[in-house]
């Protein structure tokens, strides 16, 4: 992390623990015994999508705490005029706040040293307009990373750009995917050493999912690792040691498909990437296989719905764990992998915690890929649980749709027990704070569909609220004991924002109807909330201002897959529209309206 002298001086005044050579802590005062955080935490700045490599999204700042959070008030606000989903969150580097908008993917720099946070500059990448028609689920962007004086992010038309953080001038731009083939990019890249790591979107269009590594200085492509195809394409070599038998064998990315079907393999990477500096491994999950009709693709369909561990410099795979072979429900598992060292059944283990669309919280040993626990956090009917010996789900066959079998009462729905919106882990409580959904779905009779001039039949999917009288909740999940401690429920809407936990024992998140909320990290009591101008599907973050005081920032702007129902172009007439989510999201149009903006709060 690059910190100017004056800023470092302020940090030292506020957090005396920080030394010149160790600008960020990995140990937090008041942490539970034995919990070790593997990567430095964000102190005054916020330089990467999650704040930290380990994706805890935990901030050691504690000026804002359970006692004074009730005094939070808006100190800055900036609308960008873009009526699409605002996912992700801003960065703060060197007293400048950087915001990436949805398409057309502006990068806006705000000066935090001046009242009203005036704009320093706006970078306009002018992405190809055609990418708007290709993106499956709203034209979102999930944020940027800062490194080496550059802000690096992806544009919807599958380019990665590096912009000079001071001048706002383009440093390099690299085409990473081909919109002609249906590839788009919505995810936020991370930078490890001199390597920029970029995923992709577009599995619905038969894209072959891949991770691309770019050189930080030049933007040159260093290597690619595909999620289907021969081992050489997947960068599987002698170092590859999956824990489970089912994930071992030669060229499984070819042999687990019918001939050549892997070429439309899907398994895109549109969520978050974690990094463990001690093991020098990156971790990320992959999405649904390319052809959605699962009868057409018998086999495990590797490497869709898989968690990978890889060396960030060479791209070589260390292990892989396919969470769900032969996906039948669009359970993308591109969610965050939270890296924590903590006591597990009496012994300190290097954990990877993955709360996923399947409705389970997976706890893996991140050195080996062994599953230590898989417990459901929302109602689940597609599987009874997981066999930890084989790593396989114990499926309920009646809930798997086939030609002529319309599975009903499938929980969770395709939007999952949670979506890509990231959870946060507090070493002080040992809880993972999970933004969760409770929706189920029915596959029913076939309707005539029409695409590119061709009529065909499609099974209709209708999603609706799950059992229990709520549709979303913010869950405090006790990781060590694999159980829910408390939750704050939403009757009519999923919780579809990211979460921020802080050393002030406050948990921040937003709701789709626009409440920005602070909870007591221990009890779940609502300490403060404020209704903002649009629904929240972004991720809260926190930073120290030039005055040495702590601030909290959040985007508003309803949209995204589930929130797209709030956009004027989507009708609520048809329960089956927007890939089926309309049935679950009927009320949102009355509860909020679109319009992107950044809000900054002080205490």
């Amino acid at each position: 992390m690059r910190i100017v002298n004056g800023f470092l001086f302020i940090l030292c005044m506020v957090i005396p623990l920080i030394g010149q050579n160790a600008p960020s802590p990995t140990e937090v005062p008041g942490s539970q015994a034995g919990i070790h955080l593997v990567s430095p935490l964000p102190t005054g700045e916020w330089t990467m999508p999650a704040g930290d490599y380990a994706n805890t999204r935990f901030s050691p700042l504690s000026q804002i705490n359970t006692g004074n959070v009730k005094n939070l008030h808006i100190v800055g606000e900036m609308a960008d005029g873009i009526p699409h989903g605002h996912e992700g969150g801003p960065l703060v580097v060197d007293n400048t706040l950087y915001m990436v908008t949805p398409f057309p993917n502006y990068l806006i720099a705000l000066d935090l040293t001046k009242p009203g946070y005036p704009m320093k500059w706006k970078f306009e990448p002018n992405p190809d307009q055609r990418s708007v028609g290709i993106a499956c689920c709203d034209v979102v962007n999930r944020g940027a990373s800062y490194a080496d004086g550059k802000i690096i992010y992806n544009t919807l038309d599958a380019n990665t750009v590096a912009v000079d953080a001071k001048s706002g001038q383009l440093v390099w731009k690299t085409k990473v995917g081909d919109t002609d083939l249906g590839e788009t990019i919505t995810m936020a890249p991370i930078v490890v050493k001199d390597v920029v790591l970029v995923g992709d979107s577009g599995a619905e269009l038969g894209v072959r999912g891949k991770l691309t590594a770019l050189d930080l200085k030049s933007g040159k492509i260093l290597w690619r690792a595909f999620n289907s195809g021969p081992d050489s394409d997947a960068r599987i070599g002698p170092d590859f040691k999956p824990f489970y038998q089912k994930d071992r064998g030669k060229d499984l990315g070819v042999t687990s498909w019918t001939p050549d079907q892997w070429r439309l393999g899907g398994g895109t990477i549109w969520g978050w990437i974690s990094y463990d500096p001690e093991l020098n491994l990156i971790y990320y999950g992959t999405g649904n296989p390319g052809v959605w009709n699962d009868d057409m693709r018998p086999g495990d369909n590797k490497w869709s719905i898989t968690i990978w561990a890889r060396n960030p410099e060479t791209g070589d795979a260390k292990w892989a764990y396919q969470i769900e072979p032969h996906d039948g429900w669009d359970y993308d598992e591109i969610m965050e992998n939270v890296l924590v060292d903590m006591p597990w059944q009496g012994k300190t283990r290097k954990l990877l915690i993955h709360p996923g669309r399947t409705g389970f919280v997976f706890v893996l040993d991140r050195e080996t890929g062994e599953v230590l626990s898989a417990e459901n956090f929302e109602p689940v009917t597609w599987a009874k649980g997981y066999d930890l010996k084989t790593g396989l789900p114990i499926e309920n066959p009646d809930k798997r749709p086939h030609t002529n079998h319309y599975a009903r009462g499938v929980c969770p729905s395709s939007t999952g027990g949670k979506e890509f919106v990231p959870s946060s882990f507090s070493p002080k409580t040992g809880y993972l704070y999970i933004p969760a959904h409770n929706t189920c779905m029915d596959y029913s009779g076939e309707d005539v569909n029409y695409i590119a001039g061709t009529p065909y039949l499609g099974a209709s999917v209708r999603m609706y609220p799950g059992p229990g009288g709520y549709q979303g909740e913010l869950i405090a999940w006790d990781v060590a004991n694999a159980k829910k401690v408390w939750s704050v429920k939403e009757a009519d809407l999923p919780v579809y924002s990211g979460v921020l936990a802080t050393a002030g024992d406050v948990v921040f998140y937003g709701t789709m109807d626009g409440y920005f909320r602070a909870l007591d990290a221990r009890s779940g009591n609502v300490l403060w909330q404020m209704k903002l101008s649009s629904g929240i599907i972004g991720n809260p973050m926190t930073f120290l201002g030039p005055d040495g005081k702590q601030y909290v920032a959040i985007y508003v702007g309803i949209g995204g897959w589930m929130g797209a129902v709030a956009l004027p172009s989507v009708s609520t007439d048809d329960d089956y529209a927007a890939l089926g989510v309309v049935g679950a999201m009927k009320k949102i149009k009355q509860m909020t309206s679109p319009g992107g903006a950044l809000y900054v709060f002080g205490y």
Binding site: G182, G290, M296, T403, N449, A452, P455, D573
Partner: protein
């Protein structure tokens, strides 16, 4: 849907793309690169049909071009960017559809010099052939030809072709027929208008044969009625189009013949001897 939501939607529609009086202009949404249906040079049968309609109604013709992929209707007809899509399956839920103006059927496309002459999914030759099918990327799509082939255990013979192909190519949905011509695959099963058009215009000797439905496939519709589609509630325009269709059946038939569109009766497929 509540009336409040309806008026909210109406407000956004009108402001997003002001509606021009339907009497002055026929505003058509179409794919800019998808023959035989339409392209930006207006060389498709949808383009010719739109000209016939505009002339008949005495209005001018304008286009809003948009690739017919996911979100096509949301970004075109439903967004108010046009008033009619020239071709939709009859009864599709995103639009109000006219009476059908033709009915076509899935076809087998193969090289004549292979002498395969496949007419039915029961043909035992299929067991040893590479069979191209379209995949749409839609949640649980059931492209009927694929369903019929899966039923016969031929999943290992299928070669999936992304129906969207590559945007920068001409007429990307025709990829699958080009693959038959260059012998990448032995046979393709595709929607009739596409198969008929490309098979008859290929430099390779191709034949397109309508599927002869087998008793095994009674539950699998292989032929579909095709209508024009307008926004729900636009009954005035729909009625005019219905009247046009009733008065121009033979013109339409000639038009479709000139594009080699295989036509079938309402009873379904033909089983030529």
């Amino acid at each position: 849907m509540s009336s409040a939501t309806k008026s909210l939607l109406a407000f956004f529609f009108c402001c997003a793309a002001p509606l021009v009086a339907a009497t002055a202009e026929l505003r058509v949404c179409a794919d800019p690169n998808n023959l035989p249906y339409s392209n930006q040079q207006q060389q498709g049968f949808e383009n010719e049909l739109a000209q016939l309609v505009a002339r008949d109604l005495g209005v001018s013709l304008s286009y809003f071009w948009f690739p017919q992929r996911h979100k096509f209707f949301r970004n075109t007809l439903l967004a108010g960017a046009c008033d009619v899509v020239m071709e939709v399956p009859t009864g599709i839920d995103v639009a109000s559809t006219t009476v059908p103006y033709y009915r076509s059927i899935y076809v087998f496309v193969s090289r004549r010099d292979r002498g395969l002459h496949i007419r039915s999914f029961d043909d035992p030759q299929l067991k040893s052939l590479r069979i191209g099918v379209h995949v749409t990327g839609e949640n649980d799509d059931r492209v009927p030809s694929t369903t019929a082939l899966l039923k016969r255990g031929l999943v290992g013979n299928l070669e999936g072709y992304d129906i969207f192909g590559k945007l920068s190519e001409q007429n990307p949905a025709g990829d699958i027929v080009r693959a038959v011509a260059d012998k990448t695959i032995d046979v393709a099963v595709v929607w009739g208008p596409l198969g008929g058009y490309f098979a008859n215009r290929s430099s390779a000797p191709l034949e397109a044969t309508p599927v002869c439905p087998s008793p095994l496939d009674q539950q699998i519709p292989l032929s579909f009625d095709i209508s024009m589609g307008v926004r729900r509630g636009n009954d005035a325009l729909r009625d005019k189009l219905n009247s046009f269709i009733a008065r121009h059946r033979s013109d339409i038939r000639h038009l479709l013949d000139s594009y080699s569109v295989p036509l079938v009766s309402a009873q379904g497929g033909q089983c030529q001897k």
